[in-house]
Each structure stands twice: as C-alpha cells, then as structure tokens.
C-alpha cells in the first residue's frame, strides 16, 4: 500500500466511527439538500438540462485545441498576456515571476481549486510574498492552516464557535458566535488588504471560447474586488474549463449554482475579457491568464475516461456520496476529494499511489446520478481499478480470483465448498473476530449469515 493509502485508511476508520462528525456533516448539508432540490425543480426539465450540458462539455473537450486557441485569441486581442503551463511547477514559476516583476508584496486571492492543486500559496509565501484568501471560507481555513474540506464549502466542517476561537486567536477580534458579526470582522480585515494589494489572483469557473472571456462565479463579491482593485490580475485555470459559446453560460451558471450551492443563480457572475481598456475608469492595468495542463492532456488522450474532464467542480458528487459524508473532506488528502477525486486523482497524480481512492467506493452510483454533466463517475472508478490491477496486480488477490473460477464453474467443486463452508462455520465461533479469523474485516462489526442446511442447489436436486 502507498503511504497515501495507509493514511487514508487510518483517517477514514477514525472519522467513520466519529458520530459527532457524522452528525455535523449531515446537519451542514441538510439545508443545502432542500434548496438544491427546490432549485432543480425550477428547471423545466432538469434531466434534459443535464443531457444538454453533457453535450456542450463533450463538444468543448473533443475540440479542446480549437476552442482553447479561440479563447486565447480573444483574450490576447484585448491585451491579455496568456501563459501555458504544462505542469504545476511551471505554473508556480510563471505566477511567482509575474509577482516578482511587479515588485509586489501583498497578494489577494479569491477561491481557486487549481491554486490548491499546484500549491500556489506555499510557493508565493516561500518566495517572500504575503497571500490573503478573500473568500470567507478560505479566509477561515487559511487562518487555521488547513486545506479546504470541500471544493465549494471549504470551511463546512467548522462550527461557529470554532470560527470565533480562530478569529480571537489570529485576529484578536471575535465579538460573538454570530455569523454576521464574524463576517464583519473578516470584511474589515479584507477591505484593508484589497486596498494594499499589488496583485489579485482568481480562478475561473468557465472559459468562453467564443468571446475570449473568463467567467467567475461567487457569492461574496470578493472575487470582483480581488480582480478590480490591484494593478495586476492573474487568473489561473485548468484547460478543461472551456465552453464553446457565451450562450452556454445561460445553462451552466444556473446549473452550477443549483447543484453547487442550492441557489438559482450565484450572487455575482462576472466576465473578464482583458485588462483596463483605453478610456475605461477601472480594472487592472495588466491581466495574465495562466492555462494549466498538469496531466489533463493525458486524461484527454484516454478516450474511455476523457469525459472526466467535463467536470465543472460543483461538488454535487461529494454532497451525495455516502463515503465522503462518512470520512469527510480532509481524509482524502487530495485537492479534489469525493467521487470526482477518486476518478481524476489517479490520472493527475499517479495511478498506483492514488488507486485506493478508486477502491474506496461501494459503487452505489449516487455521484453519477447527481452529476450535472452526467459523468459516469462510478464506472470510471471501475476502470481505474482495472487499469491499476492490470499494471500491478496483487499476487494474493490474483491467485484468489484465479482459484475461485473453477470453484464457481464446476458443480462438484461448488458442492465441496458448500460442505466445507458448513464445517468451517461450526469451527468459526472459536476464532470469530480474532486476528486468526480470515473473515475478520467483516466479523469485527458484523455477523455472517449461516450457510443453510440445504442450499438452493441441493434443494433443486431433490426436485429433479
């Protein structure tokens, strides 16, 4: 097992048995569930919308080369500097170089999972810059030195009392547990930072090829301030974010808001097409767009699993996943947790090291049913399992499955196993749930059903 797998198994076992955590996640998501379903019902035809969204993303991803070039041409025509980053290191270097060239000290940043993916904050801090997260949830976890717990709700695991304590310790300003008062504390701190910042970094939700524009969705207005106030704006996005046409946002923006946060539409939806143009009163003087590959093209080359690039990072699959809900977001120790993480992490970061995430699923399919762009997530988990077992089979598992085939296929051997099972079952209580018990993984928490005195096949024989 990889180190990551060992860590996952032990953290998962601890949190799955933590009833406080189980209740916390249930409560945190229950309001969202109600709102999500209300908003879904406001679509004339939710299933039709999913089919259409899947078709749009398929079109974008299948012609990614053309749409990306079109996207870049539009941006460049308005004076945007576009950078192509093949991997995380390259993306970090590009951004650190831009920041250095501006003699910047302070950077404000709005929420971007791609920045988490490339560990951008660490790189900027290592280079001597201060980076401040401006999304409230991200701001809180940055103060706590934690990774996001969820790709849309980064601080959903925290109770208001814990947030107050964090503010008291780090900001020395925490009047009460009242969310509004705590928000005002964050706001006071952040307003100063926006005014002082030299560079603003954002992510992107969509990249519109037709118009060469970046679409950013948010609820706090922090991304707008991040983009508008500093002299330099940098947007980091994965190459799969492309949608062909501006009109596609008429579908994707409400869809993302619905399944992402249970909203009809997010509070702020902004399009960025370039730096401040001649005659304009505001906006950044410079606009850089960094397009990140980081193994996305390898996934693109895999015709069978390419559709995983359709993901719009809405988090819907996490919210319905019974595994995510029982082990929590930090247990995965990846940028992208939950079902989508189980599918793409082995592609982005290495199949053998991360295959355990593809195995950590009952394959219930709730994720695929929830996915607004219809990615068959649980089927891709199966394909990752197949690929990992083919590349590096486990000796014992292979042997066991090989030995099982003749037993399952031959009546006489199956009979023998039936009889042997009955005998074994008589002796089993002696070792049940002890380290000697071969079925211990099951029997530690669950009883085994008894083998019947007369099996179905034995009964069938009596009728012939």
């Amino acid at each position: 097992m990889s180190t990551a797998a060992v860590q996952f198994k032990s953290d998962a076992a601890r949190l799955a048995a933590d009833l406080r955590h189980r209740a916390l996640i249930h409560t945190a998501l229950s309001k969202y569930e109600v709102k999500r379903d209300e908003m879904k019902a406001r679509f004339q035809d939710w299933q039709g919308a999913r089919t259409l969204a899947a078709a749009r993303k398929q079109e974008a991803v299948n012609h990614l080369d053309q749409y990306l070039e079109q996207f870049v041409r539009g941006l460049e025509a308005r004076g945007t500097k576009v950078h192509w980053a093949g991997n995380a290191q390259r993306a970090r270097d590009i951004i650190v170089d831009i920041v250095k060239a501006r003699n910047a000290r302070l950077i404000v940043k709005s929420k971007a999972m791609t920045a988490e993916e490339i560990h951008l904050n660490e790189a900027l801090e290592h280079a001597g810059f201060e980076v401040v997260e401006t999304d409230l949830g991200e701001f809180i976890i940055q103060l706590r030195g934690e990774a996001p717990y969820h790709i849309v709700f980064p601080a959903m695991h925290l109770l208001r009392g814990e947030i107050r304590q964090t503010f008291a310790e780090k900001l020395h300003d925490a009047p009460s547990d009242n969310p509004e008062e705590l928000t005002m504390v964050a706001r006071r701190v952040l307003r100063q930072k926006y005014m002082q910042a030299d560079v603003g970094i954002t992510g992107a939700n969509f990249a519109v090829a037709e118009t060469g524009m970046v679409s950013v969705t948010e609820n706090e207005g922090n991304a707008r301030l991040t983009a508008a106030l500093p002299r330099t704006m940098i947007t980091l996005l994965g190459i799969e974010k492309v949608v062909p046409r501006l009109a596609d946002l008429a579908l994707f923006l409400p869809m993302l808001a619905t399944v992402g946060a249970g909203q009809l539409i997010s509070g702020y939806n902004t399009m960025y097409g370039g730096p401040r143009q001649p005659g304009e009163a505001d906006g950044p003087e410079e606009f850089h767009v960094v397009l990140l590959d980081n193994n996305r093209t390898a996934l693109l080359a895999d015709a069978e699993q390419r559709e995983a690039l359709h993901c719009i990072r809405c988090g819907a699959c996490l919210n319905v996943c019974p595994i995510y809900r029982n082990v929590g977001g930090h247990t995965y120790n990846t940028t992208y947790p939950g079902p989508i993480g189980g599918v793409i992490t082995p592609h982005l970061r290495g199949l053998q090291e991360w295959k355990h995430l593809s195995y950590a699923s009952s394959l219930c399919g709730a994720c695929a049913e929830a996915c607004p762009v219809k990615i068959a997530l649980h089927h891709h988990l199966l394909r990752n399992r197949r690929n990992s077992a083919a590349a590096r089979p486990s000796f014992w598992q292979k042997l066991a499955f090989k030995a099982f085939a003749p037993v399952a296929n031959h009546r006489s051997l199956w009979k023998l196993v039936t009889k042997g099972g009955r005998l074994g079952q008589r002796l089993h209580p002696l070792i049940k749930a002890t380290p000697l018990d071969p079925a211990r993984a099951w029997t530690r928490t669950r009883d085994l059903p008894p083998i019947a005195r007369q099996s179905f096949k034995e009964w069938w024989q009596t009728r012939l």
């Binding site: 019974p322 029982n326 950590a360 394959l363 399952a408 039936t418 669950r446 007369q454 069938w460």
Partner: protein, 237 residues
C-alpha cells in the same frame, strides 16, 4: 414461458428460501422454471476489484449456460446489473462480446421480470406487517428499477409500506465491505437508522446481498428490525 433462473452464490448458500420462493411464484404463474447447475457466481467480485481477466473466466460460464435462455430471472439486482450492464463492457473486444450483448436484454431482475415482462403485480400474498423498502444501488441506478418492487408490495394484503427519508447505499459494495470495513459499517449504520425512523418491522429488498450486510450489522448490534427478500413475501405459502 420457460424462465431460466440464475441463483447467485450467496443466495444459493445462505438464502435458499429466496430462490425457492422465486421458483414457487413462477410455477404458480404457470411458467416452466429451469436452473442451470453449474454457474454459481456472476464474476462480480473479481470484476469490481479490477481483475477483469479472472472475472471473465467465471462470467464466460454464465454466458454459455444462459445463452439459449428465452428469459432469465436473476435473483439479485446486483448480479443483474453485472450481467445486463457490465458484461458487454467486460467482454468488449473478445469473442464473447456478441453473446454478452444478446443475452443482456433477455435478463431481468426478479421483480422487474414479474412487473415489466410478465405484467403481474398481484400474487395474492398476505403479509400483515409494516415494512420499509431498501433499493439496492445496482438495482436502482444501473437497472433503473424503482417502481416494480413497490407495485408488487402495494398488492400484498395487510402490508403497510413506509418509505425511508433518504435513498442511500447500505454500505455493502462487495469487496469494499472487507477492504474498507470501517466506512462500510458507518454507511450501514446510517442506513439502519433511516430504516428505524420508519418504525417498520421489516426491511424488504430485492437484493439479498444488501440484506446480508444490513442484517449482519443489526444482529451484531442487537437491533430488533428484521430483513426479508421481496420474493419471500410474495411466494405462495
């Protein structure tokens, strides 16, 4: 009609009454039931673990034994999904692909066979209890079976069906339950708690594998709720 019955390994060994109930129901409806002796497993454990080559060694026997069947009744939604949905991918590019594709539409999970293929919902059964229904995930999301078992339950005399608040997985997941026992157990506990909220005496399902997990966990935790397969409720006494 001649119905070929596919009895999965765990039904054969641990839940023979489920298979026997199916035989009795089909015979009562006037159908001839045949049951090939040899195949004991659909190959899902190896398939789900990633060992598709080893899975094919088991699955190919199933294909061959069922190839001439007019209609196949599968005594588990999960094995049904394996044969109907996953065999075509498992055998893609092999000499058996055409057979896998031709077999799939002739296979039915048992409740789906009764309702969709045979057009039967009332079997004259009586079961004077309050029950809740657990949808096996493979049955629900791979085979899209939701209404069939409920239509059958609706016709059972003196039976009261109370739905659970949420539709969630019971946490079994085949080899998942042994690879990640702690997560699997937590999922099972969530499921049982949802079932208990309905105050049902029985958790009914069309999949014995889910019930094996739920019952195994309830037995260990000394919970009073019982599990029963749909076919056992419907079978003539």
């Amino acid at each position: 009609m001649t119905v070929t019955l596919f009895i999965p390994c765990f039904v054969d060994l641990c839940y023979p009454q489920v298979g026997i109930s199916m035989v009795r129901i089909l015979e009562k409806l006037g159908h001839k039931v045949v049951c090939p002796e040899a195949p004991a497993c659909c190959g899902q454990p190896a398939f789900n673990t990633g060992y598709w080559h080893e899975s094919r060694a088991v699955a190919v026997k199933v294909l061959k034994q069922l190839q001439d069947a007019e209609v196949v009744a599968i005594a588990s939604g999960s094995c049904g999904a394996m044969i109907k949905v996953f065999y075509p991918e498992l055998f893609a590019g092999t000499e058996h692909e055409a057979l896998a594709r031709s077999l799939a539409p002739r296979c039915y999970e048992f409740s789906d066979l009764l309702v969709s293929k045979l057009g039967v919902t009332d079997l004259g059964a009586r079961f004077p209890h309050k029950v809740t229904f657990h949808d096996g995930c493979h049955s629900l999301r791979e085979l899209h079976i939701h209404d069939a078992p409920r239509r059958l339950l609706a016709k059972v005399r003196d039976l009261e069906l109370v739905e659970m608040r949420e539709t969630v997985c019971c946490g079994f997941g085949g080899t998942f339950s042994a690879k990640f026992p702690a997560i699997s157990t937590a999922m099972g506990e969530v499921k049982i708690s949802l079932a208990e909220q309905t105050q049902a005496e029985y958790i009914v399902s069309n999949d014995s594998s889910c019930l094996m997990h739920i019952q195994g966990l309830m037995d260990r935790q000394h919970k009073p709720t019982k599990t029963i397969h749909l076919a056992e409720i419907l079978a003539p006494s």
